[in-house]
Symmetry: C2
Subunit: 256 residues, 2 copies
């Protein structure tokens, strides 16, 4: 499965034969969060992304049509993710594996980098990635760190968490710092209460994972952050990915 | 003069006591190109900048008011540059040292990185910067390299040129590659005809400079590029800086 090409994986998802988290799929390919919004909200959202590059690194902007021509020729953003969320007035009101019925002609779509992209590099370096070992979704938490607002878009930073063996914390930091298009280095290492997280066993998105003795929780900015910003901005309609169920691009870890 | 703080320099420009190129002013501070456009053009322009990060590295977006709150608290974008250009339907129709009468309330302003920012670092490393030695403006040329379009914004890449002693070409490359917010490494080294420049003695903007024996012309992406894109997009009105007469921010070369 991990050797399946990005394009093949997208087609398998499109055909409805794959609807789980994408963390271990098409390894080494850049994965992306999706935010699709009516054009009238797109400027403020793009300013928000530009001001908050750690949670919102821009991989591609699809301003006409539904094909990510640069990062995934032949793709269709409405069908090629395993899961979608429909937001009405900012509220997540529905989920589906196909977004065609929700899609509006004037949508501008944003593909934002995802930490799954650097997990392949971590594993190559011998760093365990717990949620992949456990076959579940990465745990994600809402912090008390504010994003820089833009127009109506504002809200706290959301982070993903990976427990890392103490002696590999520095290595994990160094590796991820090189992935500026995938959230870059960690936002915080160690005590979750320092960034407003009360309980690691109850993530706000995704699944809890076990933290072994002598492991340190490490936190990276997360592409679910804009979903909270959408809640605040309350656009009439927006479509995003289901957390953990990403868009897989043709870009490899070596591309920009 | 070179030790005058960025804020003091802006105030001196605002008071009308300084209207020349800014290349050697407030050394070590990040300088920026200005593009101010009606809000309805701002999304396409920001997508254009995002798709062409070498000519258009974003330092700050001022989406309300005329103060660059992040990069230059207390500044006024309408008065703090030594020279402005008024564009009507894309055409440069007027120049002035004050843009207040041209300014529209719904303008969104973009500050884009400038190669002057890395010149201080080049000089610290002992690399001569000819236009500063000569007390003139840096020479700029329109190339035949196309930018990636966005909406109505399109056009060729504009570059600035500096003649560099052959044995320092690698050093100049290495230094400038670290300035991703100031156009980064060179676009081209050597033969100008390879990027569509016919005659180095007749720059499209700025002033010609002498190239000494054993010097190689090096070309960097230039923040005048968006002025050509504005010509193509033909917004009713736009305000930009006079080439070479930049906005001086409080950011230092060490800031992002």
């Amino acid at each position: 499965m991990t050797t399946m090409s990005a394009q093949q994986t997208r087609l398998k998802i499109r055909s409805g034969n794959l609807d789980g988290p994408t963390a271990n799929l098409a390894a080494g390919h850049v994965q992306a969060n999706l935010v699709a919004l009516p054009r009238e909200y797109a400027l403020d959202f793009l300013i928000f992304a530009t001001r908050n590059p750690k949670p919102c690194p821009i991989i591609e902007i699809v301003d006409t049509g539904t094909e990510a021509k640069r990062s995934a020729p032949g793709s269709d953003l409405r069908t090629d993710l395993p899961g979608y969320r429909l937001h009405v007035s900012g509220k997540h009101v529905d989920s589906a594996t196909d977004a065609r019925t929700w899609w509006k002609e004037d949508f501008v779509s944003f593909l934002l980098g995802c930490s799954f992209s650097f997990e392949a590099a971590m594993m190559r370096a011998g760093i365990p990635v717990r949620h992949q070992q456990s076959g579940c979704n990465v745990p994600m938490y809402v912090t008390d760190l504010p994003c820089e607002p833009a127009g109506k878009f504002s809200g706290p930073l959301v982070v993903s968490m990976r427990p890392i063996p103490r002696q590999q914390v520095k290595l994990a930091t160094n590796i991820t710092e090189n992935f500026s298009h995938a959230h870059g280095g960690p936002i915080h290492i160690g005590d979750p209460s320092r960034i407003g997280i009360r309980n690691l066993t109850t993530p706000d998105f995704g699944d809890a994972v076990q933290i072994y003795e002598d492991e340190i929780p490490m936190f990276w900015a997360c592409g679910v952050t804009p979903q909270i910003a959408i809640e605040m901005a309350e656009p009439e309609i927006a479509v995003t990915h289901e957390p953990g169920k990403m868009f897989i691009t043709d870009f490899t870890d070596k591309d920009p």
